[in-house]
Structures are given as C-alpha cells and as structure tokens.
C-alpha cells in the first residue's frame, strides 16, 4: 500500500495536470493490476461504505491512546481531520509499512463491515497495531468514509489511456460506467474489445480565434454568418445506434450529468452535433451561475433536475447517419441542421441557435450591442464556405461584447498563497449608506500597483478577521465584468463573472462609487 500512499502525497492539490498524469503513470507501472483496479476505483470517488462512524473512531482512538476527548478535539483543530488525529495519537510499535497491498486492505475492510460492532472494534485495534501512521491514516479514512481526492477524471483517463495503450474515449466511457473493483479486472473493464467502442468517439473540436481590430477592417461581412454564443458548456452530443454520449471540449464525458438529453435518443436518426449546454427556463437565456452547480454534479438529484433545467443550444452538425459532414461548408451544414431538426418536438431539451446574415458591418455591430439583452457573451462570425476544422482557426471569429463597468472600493484584503503582499481583494459598492461586498478576487493590477496598494493597506487597517484585513474605504478600483447572475450565496444577491481590474485611484471621498441598485439593474 506504500506506493499508493506515496501517490496520494504527490497528488497534492495545486499540482499541474501533467505532473498528476506522470505520477499516476509511475504508480501504474509499479503496482499490480489487481491493486490498480482498486486504486482507480478509490480515485474515481467510489468510496467504500463507512464501517464505523467518526464518533466511534474517535472514542476508540482515545481509549487506545489513553487520551481525554478534549485533547483529541484540540488536536483535531490542528489536523482538521478526525481520521488523521486517530492515526497519529496512537503510539506505533512499527515504522515499517505492512506487506499487504491496497487491494488486500480494501477486501479486509469490506469484510470488516460485515462483523458485529464489538468485533469490528477488536479487529480495528489489531489493524492499528500492525500498520504505520501513514497506513493508519488511509485506513481510518476508508473506515469512516472520508477518503477524498482532488484528482480529476481527465487525468485519470489520460494516464490509463497511456498505460493501457487504449484510446481515451474508450477508457472514459468504460470508466464512467457502473463497475465495482470486486467484479472487474483491468482486463475485463478496459482491455476486452467491444464492437461498439467506435460509437463513442468524438471529433476534434473547432475553436474560434479572437476577433481583433485588424481583422475587423479587412473582413468581408457578407461571407460570414453570425450567431450568439452564451455562458454554457461547449459540448459534442453523439447519438449513434441508440447510444448517447456528451463530450466537453476538454474530453470529459458528461453523459450522466445531463440525463435530460437522453431524450434525444428517441430521434429516429443518428447524428453528431456541436453546441452549448445552457441552463435555461426561457429559451436561450442562460444563467451561468446555476449551470455551474449542475456541471459539478455527477449524478443530479430529482430536485436539481427540476430546479435547474438545462437544454442544448445547437449550432453545428458534424455527422448524420454515419456520414461525416465536416468537409461540407458551414452554410451547407447549417442547412442540414435546419432540415433535420425542424420537426423535433418542442418538449425536446434542444434549440437551434439563431443564425443571422448581416449585410453590413453596422448590422453586425447592432447584433453585438443586443448581446447584453439576450444575455450572450458575444457573437461568433463563421465563414460561410469553411469546413469544420480541427483546433483554433480564422474561419470562426469570436467577438466579445463590451463588458459591464463598475466603480468599486477596496473593503477587505488578504495575503493568499504565501504571498508577501496583499494580493486578494474584496471590493464593495454602496447599498444605501453602507458598503456591501460585490466581488472577491485576486488583484490583477500591475505588480507595481499591487505593491503600492499593499503598503497602503498595511497602514490603513481598521479591523482583522483571521487573515483578512478590513481597510479604510479609500482605494477606488474600476472593474469590468462579462456577466452577472442572481445568487443566493452572496450577500449582495448577485454574482459577477470574468471580473477584471482596470484601474485604481486613491480617493478620500468614496461617494462616487457605484450603487448596488445600479448593479442589480444589469441583471
């Protein structure tokens, strides 16, 4: 189990994705295939059912270590983890890791769960006696069901794909299916070929370049179609032979997160479409804040499905009845899309993204101006004659709408990530006569300014809340942001998206800063 514990140390949060993959690969190369299947099951988030409750663990550890509960609680304030305190307070007779592998331990713990409570405790004490503090920590976490990792599905899939030399989409699909390490082996789960494997394979995504000023002048608007893009999750939805797959642009499989879209399976033809999943009650109006709470749910509950309905806003078709459409021009693909989906029932969680053909640049500008009204992020210009290419290219151009502007004042500051200067700000606006925080973010001003503001902060602290410093409201910071949504989690009642700091000034009089009513009027 030592190598798995070492792996967990290396998967510390903050590690880059490539480091995570290489750490996983190193581990896979060393571990037995039996162990790997248990390891990936744990890393996937399939925790074994809790064997004992945290209070029982605490009581048992206190008894074994001869320590009063208050001292255990004091210690837990430092470790912030009952499993860890329990592992550390017991005097260890051995400092050599046990020879048992992760899979053996997992099976032992599963068996343990079947015993009577008293027998369980006796067995746990025996386990503690044979293991080191590091092993104990992991075992305790598994016992009380508190084992968690920060590792993402993407890294796991990538590492497995390299290790097993199997295409990523096959790994991802099988990995996401329901399986138990008890009944499967690496071979049965991944290596056994399935004639349906090719069905899930997504196409590489086409991405837009940013629409910069030079191109603005030189393009001929007549050769472009224009559509809005929104705050959503860019996805490829594949329906082939009665199977449905939803892939994000990063290669993550989202089929289970959006069960609403399973309805698309009822359509009598096969297709691959490109679009954005948006959270929407009325057509087209997307709410990024609510969508985010959907994206993070691997298996949404019934309540969430009702509260936060989603739909797919389709803008391209890449395959139809097994025929690859990518080499067709954009115009032709759009026509196909329109013809195919014209008759779909209105109850289907799917809409076609509206397409415009502006005849002048002015008309195009008007569309952009309207972006705020329709709650879009901006417009996409797509070359009518272009095929669907891989990666980023000039056939698609992204033109963001002008951001919203606000004048805020610095209210709280904090040093984060072991910085020597104050680098996290909470910014506030006026609400009647009081200041109300509207955004908390990392300072994105030039280094010189951050240093200067930091020095000023140090001299103007009014109050302290842990690491947070409240300062005299005198630093005015102009910010821009791309979108705004209603939020119940925020004091101000709104959440801002893509905030940028533009400029700052020192001002004794802060009456000029924006009012909350002004902010709410943006919603």
């Amino acid at each position: 189990m030592k190598s798995f514990i070492n792996l967990l140390y290396k998967l510390n949060d903050g590690n880059s994705s490539s480091n995570v993959v290489s750490a996983l690969l190193k581990y896979f190369n060393r571990a037995s295939t039996k162990e790997i299947i248990w390891a990936i099951s744990l890393l996937k988030g399939n925790r074994p059912k809790r064997t004992i409750t945290p209070p029982v663990l605490k009581k048992l550890a206190c008894e074994q270590a001869n320590i009063p509960t208050w001292l255990f609680e004091m210690s837990t304030k430092i470790t912030k983890d009952i499993a860890e305190t329990s592992a550390l307070i017991i005097e260890k007779s051995t400092h050599v890791h046990s020879k048992k592998t992760l899979d053996q331990w997992c099976i032992i713990l599963l068996e343990l769960a079947t015993f009577q409570q008293e027998m369980k405790l006796v067995k746990i004490i025996a386990i503690w006696d044979q293991t080191t503090a590091e092993e104990c920590l992991l075992i305790n976490k598994l016992l009380i069901g508190s084992f968690r990792t920060t590792i993402g599905q993407l890294e796991l899939v990538e590492a497995l794909s390299i290790f097993l030399k199997i295409e990523k989409h096959i790994i991802a699909v099988r990995f996401e299916s329901d399986w138990s390490p008890h009944d499967e082996s690496l071979e049965s789960l991944f290596e056994k070929p399935n004639p349906k494997d090719h069905l899930a394979k997504p196409f590489p995504f086409c991405f837009a370049n940013n629409f910069v000023k030079q191109t603005k002048k030189s393009i001929d608007i007549l050769s472009f179609g224009v559509e809005y893009f929104r705050h959503g999750l860019r996805c490829q939805v594949i329906k082939r032979e009665n199977s449905l797959y939803i892939w994000s642009k990063t290669g993550q499989l989202y089929t289970r997160s959006f069960p609403e879209l399973l309805e698309l399976k009822s359509l009598p033809f096969d297709f691959v479409i490109d679009g954005q999943i948006i959270c929407s009650k009325e057509n087209h109006i997307s709410d990024f804040n609510r969508l985010e709470s959907r994206i993070n749910k691997k298996r949404p509950t019934k309540k969430i499905l009702i509260d936060i309905p989603i739909m797919i806003n389709v803008f391209d078709i890449l395959e139809m009845e097994q025929k690859d459409f990518r080499s067709f021009s954009f115009e032709k693909r759009r026509q196909a899309l329109n013809t195919v989906f014209i008759d779909i029932p209105v109850t289907m969680p799917m809409v076609l993204n509206e397409l415009f053909y502006p005849s002048t640049m002015e008309e195009c500008n008007l569309l952009l101006e309207k972006a705020k009204e329709v709650k879009a992020k901006g417009i996409l210009l797509k070359n009518r004659t272009s095929p669907y290419l891989e990666n980023r290219n000039d056939n698609w151009l992204k033109w963001r709408k002008d951001p919203f502007k606000l004048k805020t004042v610095l209210l709280y500051a904090q040093k984060m990530n072991r910085s020597s200067v104050y680098n996290h700000y909470s910014l506030a606006v006026m609400n009647k006569d009081l200041l109300i925080p509207i955004a908390k973010l990392e300072a994105s001003l030039p280094k010189k300014n951050i240093l200067e503001i930091s020095k000023w902060i140090a001299k103007n602290i009014v109050d302290k809340f842990g690491p947070v410093r409240q300062v005299k409201p005198s630093i005015i910071i102009n910010i821009t942001f791309e979108d705004i949504a209603v939020s119940t989690r925020h004091k101000s009642g709104v959440i801002l998206k893509s905030i940028k700091m533009v400029s700052w000034e020192k001002e004794e009089n802060v009456e000029e800063i924006s009012h909350l009513t002004e902010v709410i009027s943006f919603v």
Partner: protein, 330 residues
C-alpha cells in the same frame, strides 16, 4: 516571590537582576541557544554555553561581550546559583537552572529527548518549577526514531540521483542542517549547501566543535544532477534557488507530521524531523524533572498546561513569550 517572572523584556530573575533569552535589549542575558528568537541582539552582557559562544559571535557580532560556561558548572549572580545543563536541541543548547535559598527553577529553552549524535544529549534536571516549551505539545506529534528518518532521506536522495534529479532539502541553517549533514550518505553524490549553512559550519569547524562540511554552490556548468543541496527554505524563491533544473524539493520539519503542515508548503516530499521534543518527549522531561509547578511557554501551551493539570495533577500554567519554536512560516 517567584524566582523568575515574565516582564515586558523577557523572563526575569529580580534577585539576580538577570534575564533568560530576553526579547528586548537588557543589561545581562543568559542565553539558552543560538536561534534568533532566543539569542537577540543588543544586550550589554551575554552568558551562554561554550559551544554557543562562536555561534553568537558570528550571528550577533564579534564584539559582543560574552562569557562562555561549561555544562554542570555552577556560578553565582547576586547570590543566585546558576547552572547550565544540556538541552539536546542544537549545538550549545542548554537548560538553565537558577537556585536560591533551596528553591530550584529550570528554564528548558528549546529541547529534545532524542539523541541526535551531534549535540550533547538532553539531561533531565530536578527542580521545583520548570519553564518548558511546548512547540509540539499535542499527542499527534510523535517522532519516529532518527535512524528511520535518515534512511528515508537517503533513500529519497538515491532515487532522485538515479533519475538524474537534484535533491534539495529545506532546513534551518543552525541545528537541523548540521544534523542532516552528518547522516547523509556521501556514496550517493556530492553534498552542497547554501552559504548561510556553510558559514555556520565553518564557524563550528574553526571552534573544533563540528567537522562535517558541505561544498559551496558555485555557478558554473555543473548540473548537480546526482547531488543534494541543503538550504534554508526562504532561498527557494530567489534567483539562487531557481538555478537548479527540475529539482525534487523536500522539507525536514516536525510540521511534516501532519497533512495540513505538508499542504502549507506544497512540497511533494516531507520528512518528519525536529529538534524539539515530541509529545512523549515533553511528558518524559516534565516527569523526570519532578517539578511540582510547570510554566508552559511557546507552542500549544494552553492545551499542554491543561493536560499536565488533569493527567499529572501538576500546578501548570501557560504564559505569553516572544519565542516561536519551530516556525511554520520559515
């Protein structure tokens, strides 16, 4: 009246008119050891163990007025008998016993019970009142035997060397650096150290106290691929620290015993190695002193004082000092 009191300048003995490890400039200071939170600049007269004399001179200035004493040798200040005993923390570290009219007080300074093979091992001193540190005064801190930790360190270094990676180990320049240096396996590669560590090693070497030496890091075409480098952690973000290509960086500290300690540094490797007493060490030292009254200074002092009261029935209290112990911030 108490033999020692805690005033604005530090721990003070009014009868002898002397301070122990004061944090503000005073007339006469008894110094337990050379770490900067205990040995501060600006006192008129310093008294410390012989081995601390070269350290203090190098850190605080050649011209300080300092008098060195031996372990176990008593001397009198205004009728108060004063004796230094080994504390086992770092080279030259001492516990200081003050005796007056049959009442004995001991200030432990920083200490550890484990023998490290570098400094004079800790000796329990019997007294009526003990003023103890409690840097790691919670039961979650229990050290492994030193040999186990050095086995881990050498194994880590060897693995890195086999993969052509430079090993960097973060440590205090006074104390832990000398301890690690002594137990590194020179058959794996060359051992280098940051100048601040080499400077202290040289001082100790010239004084005839400690003889292991590391090489100086000289900028040339060397890649340090199979080598190990000892450095204080604050150098890592500097230009000096960034000259090493794809290093494996580890931290040696008592804080590495807990997940939140390791997370704080964000390093992939941590070795649990401390020059402070662990939970069992603190308890052993207190019991061995046979003291009836315990005053707990820096660390988890409130929890530890409460433990001493409830578990051993001792008269224990905690006081505020300017000592920091093993700083989690370094």
């Amino acid at each position: 009246m108490d033999l020692l009191i805690n005033n604005a300048n530090g721990l003070y003995c009014p009868i002898a008119d002397v301070y122990i490890d004061p944090w503000r400039p005073v007339e006469k200071a008894l110094i337990t050891h050379g770490h900067s939170d205990h040995a501060r600049t600006g006192h008129t007269k310093y008294i410390a163990h012989n081995h601390s004399v070269p350290i203090l001179k190098s850190r605080l200035g050649k011209n300080i007025n300092i008098h060195g004493v031996k372990f176990g040798e008593s001397f009198s200040i205004n009728g108060v008998s004063c004796t230094f005993y080994p504390a086992g923390h770092i080279i030259g570290s001492a516990q200081i016993k003050l005796s007056y009219k049959g009442e004995d007080w001991v200030v432990t300074g920083d200490y550890k019970i484990q023998k490290d093979g570098v400094c004079t091992p800790f000796e329990p001193v019997k007294c009526h009142t003990i003023i103890t540190e409690s840097t790691f005064g919670l039961p979650v801190f229990q050290w492994k035997p030193q040999a186990t930790v050095f086995e881990q360190i050498n194994h880590w270094w060897k693995t890195n060397a086999e993969n052509n990676r430079t090993s960097i180990i973060c440590t205090y320049s006074l104390g832990k650096a000398q301890r690690i240096l002594k137990y590194l396996d020179p058959s794996i590669g060359s051992i280098y150290a940051h100048d601040s560590i080499n400077k202290i090693n040289q001082v100790l070497n010239e004084a005839g106290i400690y003889h292991n030496q590391a090489k100086k890091v000289v900028k040339d075409l060397r890649t340090f691929q199979k080598d190990i480098i000892l450095t204080p952690p604050n150098t890592l973000k500097s230009k000096w620290g960034k000259q090493f290509v794809n290093p494996s960086i580890a931290m040696a500290s008592g804080w590495m015993a807990i997940q939140s300690g390791r997370k704080r540094f964000g390093l992939e490797t941590g070795f649990v190695l401390s020059d402070h007493a662990d939970w069992n060490g603190l308890n052993k030292a207190i019991i061995a002193s046979e003291a009836e009254r315990v005053i707990v200074t820096h660390g988890y002092k409130k929890a530890y004082a409460q433990w001493l009261q409830t578990e051993y029935g001792l008269n224990a209290q905690s006081i505020d000092t300017a000592f920091v112990g093993e700083s989690p911030e370094i």
